[in-house]
Subunit: 506 residues, 2 copies
């Protein structure tokens, strides 16, 4: 037994501990996850893994830590601070950092093992990532991601495959065909429109990308101002614009406005705007091949659309980019309609492995937030709720009859029914309350009389709750004991099964 | 696209990057895990979770980080350095550390949520833990543990339940009845023998515990010396002994030497040595109740034994302690017999929650190393090898026929068969080599002629490998194409299924 002061128990008459007791709290921005969340997470992992493996992607797990130099400063979202990682110096003075995504470790792994890997290398990964950011409501510093990437294929078909597989994964997780859409664009298309708009300098490029990124928030007019002279916002702050000409602005706006009924029709419309530029033509050719492959892979026009307004991480990606958007509309606690929006995304990034080897290795991948998908599934009423169902609780009346309780619990378990013996010190009433808190479907009562007469009393807790709402007075309740039944001991399993199947049918 | 120097591709004629390229390597003591390892891990998680949930334990996941003060300095193994954690200061100057086990976070969680938890609270958890120690061969700084604990029950039956459940979990994971044993002892028994041996001071207690801990390594004689005057080891170093009297030494040695055919018989024998001491009598009474419960739970005498020589973490635990030992004997790379030994353990610890609340909360639990169990299962030939089987590879001959390849892969997947189209740029021969590296069971060939004639060529890669070893000359090989068959396109699924079932039968 340790003898540090803070472990003194109340029974010892020790003086106040020298070290004050620590407060029991999880660190800021970190959350505990309980059974229902974890069941949903496991459901997602199982379903999505099965899909990804069927597509020939193999599982890979890299460590939580990478050397800071190997991790680099790359994040798909441009605005994140470089210092947004949890880093510490190892005892040999090398800096290590917890991974902030699953792509940077993949690049390190691929570079390290390139010679022996089958190429192209397809891998998927589930795992936590850590971001050292200001926590806020619903904003965590640790969350689970799922990534799938193909490293070593420059073919646009590799992008198509990732898109098709992502769509199938989301379906397998439980989303309906009309609940999610993959939106596809390309950095090359944007390069084409930059060319068409006469943009040449890196600074101007950045301003245009930032303006495009604000389409959702500011609408075409706001973007137009940011592409031109600049924009005065409501607070009176002026943002300097990209300084494009009128025709340049029009090119960008007409590019962003393109929509059509089919992927091919969108490409045709874009061809009229950027088809004559070098980058645009290249991007359109890539997307044409992606479109063809998606068709061969049976991906419907509503499951994956080409949408030039997608600008996700354009500074990071080098070719196709895609975003998975949930179309689910739910209501928040104030009854307002809330769209789930983006749940993940990805694209082609051809430079990550080159950081290590100097050799450009073409790669493409898709990443989604597992907890975010879980929240969406729950909102859609699709969550696997079975795990919140507790075990059957065997009530403990008497220490001398413990063997009977254990035997009953064992028998239930051997029939695949979750069961436990109550092991606290409380009386009958508190044990029933415990069973209620556990969301137990039933309680098993083996009192002395019952054991002697070879019988068992089973309380259907769901039914009991339902009936108790209806029973008028306390006396009727006591006399009739709703939801409680006495059966011969050898019918216990059959009776519990009946209760469980009735509960499932609800 | 990022413009930092190190991302320049070889095509650009950039000068040597200002920042040298980082070396692609995982941090010291951290390992990447590939598909076969992860399949085994998932198998263990699935099987053990199912058992633990059937016993009424609910899943819980706590964050990677805890506040350093909440984590404390407790490790079950006494000799670990206090500084063995990865810690860093948060931006508000609070120190956080990565969890080094799953028990300390449970104590924090239980203290934080005590009011609302059903009590006793039973939870299980799978997850990585991190130890900032010197890495070595097979010694990692990140590994996966699985814990199950009951918090809030002082009953010895709670210990019995943990032991029985641990045994069932190991069986469910794939260990045979004769491949693992749970060894049970108790800190109270040791206190009894200390009392019997006349030990009173804390310093002497520590010396005796340390001496007992060396029984495996030094045998009774070495322990005897350490209990008495001291011991001179082979290198000439002298370790001062605990200074027990002859009769004290004999009491400890006879205590450690007790074995018998049944748990009850061991308790009877121990009664003769320590039954008259207060702590010993208490410990024996606890173990008698554990023994009774194990019998009611159907745990056989060989699955769980009472073994007083178990001294695992006696400084940490307050009551029963248990250790799971694998009896598997395998051979190492030099052909020597190696016993797997301990794979996990646990016991009763009643003081952890008190660190936060001041209130002693009785708790008991069991923890095992998931990778270690995986290694044991693999050594026993019990590993799930299905994941190392790669997907069926559809050979890509011609960009113009890509849609046919994708359609074939989709069709295979829709029948539950893992399949992929080769998406690199290499020729036929390299694609076959790729399929081989992926451990693909079959390759699908849809050349122009085959597509035109509505046929498909399927190469049974296992059979091909087997036959190629037998075929005498190259010409025969070319003429007969062993393991290769041409069938009508609509028989592709049936033929691949035949190949897969033949491979599974091997």
């Amino acid at each position: 037994m340790t003898t540090t002061p803070e472990t003194k128990t109340p029974e010892t008459t020790a003086p106040e501990p020298a070290t004050p007791r620590p407060e029991a709290r999880a660190p800021r921005g970190f959350a505990d996850r309980r059974a229902a969340d974890l069941a949903l997470e496991r459901h997602i992992v199982d379903k999505v893994s099965a899909v990804y493996e069927r597509w020939g992607f193999e599982a890979l797990a890299t460590p939580a830590f990478e050397y800071a130099d190997a991790l680099g400063k790359f994040l798909p979202d441009a605005d994140r601070p470089n210092e947004g990682v949890f880093a510490l110096a190892d005892d040999d003075e090398q800096w290590m950092a917890l991974r902030y995504d699953l792509t940077a470790p993949l690049a390190r792994f691929a570079a390290q093992n390139w010679e022996t890997l089958p190429k192209p290398f397809r891998r998927y990964a589930f795992g936590p990532v850590w971001r050292n950011e200001k926590p806020g409501p619903g904003r965590f510093r640790e969350f689970i991601q799922c990534d799938a990437d193909t490293v070593g294929s420059a073919r646009p078909e590799a992008d198509a495959e990732i898109i098709a597989m992502a769509a199938e994964g989301l379906r397998a997780a439980g989303l309906g065909a009309d609940q999610a859409v993959l939106r596809i664009a390309s950095r090359k298309l944007v390069n084409g429109v930059l060319e068409a708009a006469g943009v040449t300098s890196a600074a101007q490029t950045l301003s245009v990308l930032r303006a495009i990124d604000k389409l959702d928030r500011l609408g075409p007019e706001g973007v137009s101002a940011l592409l031109g002279e600049g924009r005065l916002d409501d607070s009176g702050d002026f943002t300097k614009g990209a300084g494009l000409t009128r025709s340049g602005i029009d090119a960008v706006l007409s590019y962003l406005a393109v929509t059509a009924d089919s992927r091919t029709a969108v490409l045709d419309a874009l061809d009229g705007i950027i088809g004559s530029t070098r980058a645009g033509a290249e991007g359109l050719a890539d997307l044409a091949r992606i479109t063809e492959a998606l068709k061969a892979l049976g991906v419907g026009e509503t499951a994956a659309v080409i949408d030039p307004s997608v600008v996700r991480g354009l500074e990071y990606y080098t070719g196709a980019v895609f975003e998975a958007e949930l179309l689910l509309v739910t209501t928040d606690e104030k009854g307002r309609a809330v769209r789930f929006g983006s749940i993940g995304g990805g694209g082609r990034y051809d430079d990550l492995v080159a950081r290590f080897t100097g050799e450009t290795v073409p790669a493409t991948g898709f990443s989604f937030g597992v907890s975010r998908l879980g929240a969406a599934l729950r909102a859609a009423g699709l969550g696997d709720q079975s795990a919140v169902r507790g075990p059957v609780v065997v009530i403990a009346f008497d220490q001398g009859d413990m063997a009977h309780y254990f035997a009953a619990a064992s028998e239930l378990r051997s029939h695949g029914i979750a069961a436990e013996v109550y092991l606290g010190q409380a009386g009958m009433k508190a044990q029933m309350k415990y069973a209620d808190r556990r969301r137990a479907p039933a309680a098993i009562m083996l009192g002395g009389d019952e054991i002697a007469s070879g019988r068992v009393t089973i309380k259907d807790l769901d039914l009991g709750r339902a009936l108790s709402a209806k029973v008028a007075d306390n006396q009727t309740w006591k006399d009739e004991r709703p939801g409680q039944i006495s059966v011969p001991r050898d019918q216990m399993i059959a009776e519990v099964r009946r209760i469980l199947s009735a509960a499932q049918a609800d």
